[in-house]
């Protein structure tokens, strides 16, 4: 049997169970149709298989991971010595900063996304201005509003701080050389190796989804009815799963849901339109010489990405895993709570959408109960935020 056939069989089984009225148990308060079940099962399984990143030769390397951990929490990679990656990606805040828009050396235009599960992205940042995790990790160091370094300053710091230089040797098998660009890229790759280890865990939704696949009534019953009703809106009338697809609840692409995108009065955040221009011209993209993927097999999307007018004002569809822990929302943090997000979709201002654009989006006109159900569902996508513990290897000084 093919995987799809197995899935279908399981779905049918689950439906049979969920649909048989049985007064003695309340698993059936919310029953799903076969179509709904198929759509729900498509949001798993979780977690996905861990794969190395072929564009990063130290992906999965234990020394690189420990090195990246060090660098991530160190403020010396910033121009004023005060800003680390962890300032905006705080472990205790699900690797975000809780701000609407992040503030590094000066205020920026965008909300800091979590770096958990970032290894699964095809495009990085709200605008997809990078196509790989190490390039995305270089960006904040060189961005004048975030950490404000030059490539020369990053490379000098790596050469001069003994622990950094020692770890560099250990990870890359040679001392940090005089080629600044090369050192910077390697720093990005160590940072990426560390971030690849940040993976979100199983959630109440995953337990429910797998129970549905197994036809496990008792486990199905444990998932709250409000969440079940919200899930039905998510895969049904709301068409949320058209963009928030698959196990990560994102298709990884860019859309316009009618959020204003002025960065400041008189200044616009071009979103994906700017991202495409940047990723194409970036010396750190997967087509460039710094990718370790000799076959350039990972570069297909970058090679074919095409600039279109609709990309102006599009932003990446965010993953919804742990979404309840990462307020505020949207590329600019302009939406405060999940209830507000749901209200946005419920009352959607169609005037902001091009007639030929996102045809899937219509104001849903949800009742207050339905809105609460949808929020209840989104809240089941959390893994309980396990506490981050520094690794032994990351803690000890390198000698």
């Amino acid at each position: 049997m093919t995987r799809r056939a197995v899935r279908r069989a399981l779905a049918a089984f689950a439906l049979a169970l969920a649909g048989v009225p049985s007064p003695a148990d309340d698993t059936l308060a919310v029953a799903f149709t076969p179509d709904e079940i198929a759509k729900i099962l498509a949001h798993g399984p979780w977690p996905p298989e861990v794969k190395r990143d072929p564009s990063n030769r130290v992906s999965g390397n234990a020394d690189a991971i420990a090195y990246g951990e060090r660098l991530f929490f160190d403020t010396r990679l910033s121009a004023n010595g005060l800003v680390s990656c962890a300032r905006c990606h705080q472990p205790g805040r699900h690797w975000t900063d809780g701000q609407a828009r992040s503030i590094g050396l000066s205020p920026g235009d965008r909300n800091a996304p979590s770096v958990v599960d970032a290894r699964l992205n095809r495009w990085f940042g709200w605008d997809g201005a990078n196509d790989n995790l190490w390039a995305q990790s270089i960006r904040p160091m060189l961005d004048p509003r975030e950490m404000g370094m030059t490539e020369a300053a990053v490379a000098r710091t790596i050469r001069e701080v003994p622990d950094f230089a020692c770890r560099y040797r250990r990870t890359f098998g040679r001392a940090p050389g005089t080629d600044d660009r090369r050192v910077v890229v390697d720093v990005g790759k160590a940072l990426a190796a560390f971030q690849e280890t940040l993976a979100s865990g199983r959630t109440p939704f995953d337990e429910f989804r797998d129970a549905l696949a197994r036809g496990d009534r008792a486990a199905i019953a444990r998932y709250p009815d409000a969440a079940k009703r919200g899930l039905r809106i998510f895969v049904g009338r709301g068409s949320c799963d058209v963009c928030h697809t698959g196990p990560r609840f994102t298709n990884g692409e860019f859309h316009d849901i009618g959020i204003a995108h002025f960065a400041a009065p008189g200044r616009v955040d071009p979103g994906r339109h700017g991202g495409i221009a940047t990723v194409r011209s970036s010396p750190f993209n997967l087509l460039g010489r710094h990718s370790d993927d000799a076959a350039r097999a990972t570069a297909t999307s970058t090679r074919h990405v095409a600039q279109e007018h609709r990309h102006f004002g599009e932003f990446r569809v965010p993953s919804l895993r742990n979404v309840a822990a990462t307020a505020p929302y949207m590329h600019d943090g302009s939406v405060k709570t999940l209830a507000d997000v749901v209200r946005h979709y419920s009352e959607l201002n169609e005037e902001r959408l091009h007639v030929h654009g996102e045809r899937i989006l219509k104001p849903l006109r949800l009742t207050p109960e339905e809105r609460a159900d949808l929020v209840a569902f989104l809240e089941t996508l959390g893994d309980g935020a396990p506490v981050f513990r520094h690794t032994e290897r990351g803690r000890l000084e390198c000698e």
């Binding site: 030059t150 490539e151 007018h309």
Partner: protein, 275 residues
């Protein structure tokens, strides 16, 4: 040498704030500009005109829900703005105007008060084009000698021409149809012009697609470009769009490029606006 990362920054800055056009640049007739109340709020009329001038536009065909935005621009820059009367009082009329009995009196009142070169851009599809309101709009266009700017499918365009075979129609976004379908329509209707707003595939990356090239060559007098500023933010795309248009137009013979860039718009709407 400029450090590499600095060049990167320059590249992204360019993407965000495109360079102003210079006198040497190809003039552009932008056939698809909207300036509705929300845009007026964030981008006052004088600033809006400045954007259009920065883009190096020779003229802009402007329509706005409520019409006030258009009138404000005309008052400031009559040389630049060609006013079109949009049959919407608010943008919510998009899907209801065809059946709204209060609409036509409002249009008549507007037409009596101000001068226009077109009615549109309006949205009408299929058999809805036979409803009384679209029919009245065609009549009004005939009476006032206005061009119809229609965001429509093939079926609705055919019906508009049935109401008035001598109507002049500017087909917004060329109906989002493929080149073959557009060609068939242009062969059938001598009074059909096409705007290319909000489409990218004909001139992606400064290269003209072969199917479109042959269409442009067959009908050099019928195409024009347009930005479609349907949100206030899109006003910040007008300059970028003009430059983008110049890039693909440069891939065509000079005469053809000039026609699509501005001569066709000038020819259709006339150097001096109607009435």
């Amino acid at each position: 040498m400029v450090p590499r990362h600095a060049r990167l920054l320059v590249a992204s800055a360019l993407a965000m704030s495109p360079l102003a056009a210079t006198a040497a640049d190809l003039p552009v007739f932008d056939a698809h500009v909207h300036y509705s109340h929300d845009a007026v709020e964030v981008l006052p009329p004088a600033d809006a005109i400045a954007v259009l001038r920065k883009a190096g536009l020779k003229r802009a065909l402007v329509s706005s829900s409520g019409d006030d935005g258009t009138q404000k621009l005309v008052a400031l820059a009559p040389d630049l703005i060609l006013p079109s009367l949009r049959p919407y009082r608010t943008r919510a009329d998009v899907s209801t105007w065809v059946r709204d009995e209060t609409l036509v009196p409002w249009l008549e009142e507007r037409l009596a008060k101000s001068r226009y070169v077109a009615i549109g851009e309006f949205h009408v599809y299929g058999a809805d084009a036979d409803l009384p309101n679209p029919r009245r709009v065609v009549e009004l266009a005939k009476k006032h000698r206005l061009v119809l700017h229609a965001h429509s499918d093939v079926d609705a365009i055919e019906r508009l021409f049935r109401h008035d075979p001598r109507a002049r129609v500017l087909w917004a976004h060329s109906g989002f149809e493929r080149p073959d379908e557009v060609r068939a329509m242009l062969r059938r209707h001598r009074n059909l012009w096409c705007d290319l707003a909000f489409r990218s595939e004909h001139g992606s990356d400064g290269k003209v697609d072969p199917a479109w090239r042959s269409l442009f060559t067959e009908f050099p007098d019928r195409f024009m470009v347009g930005t479609d500023s349907y949100t206030p933010e899109r006003w910040h795309y007008v300059v970028e769009h003009a430059n983008w248009s110049r890039a693909w137009l440069a891939d065509l013979p000079k005469d053809l490029a000039e026609r699509i860039a501005w001569r066709n718009g000038e020819a259709l709407f006339g150097a001096a606006p109607a009435r």
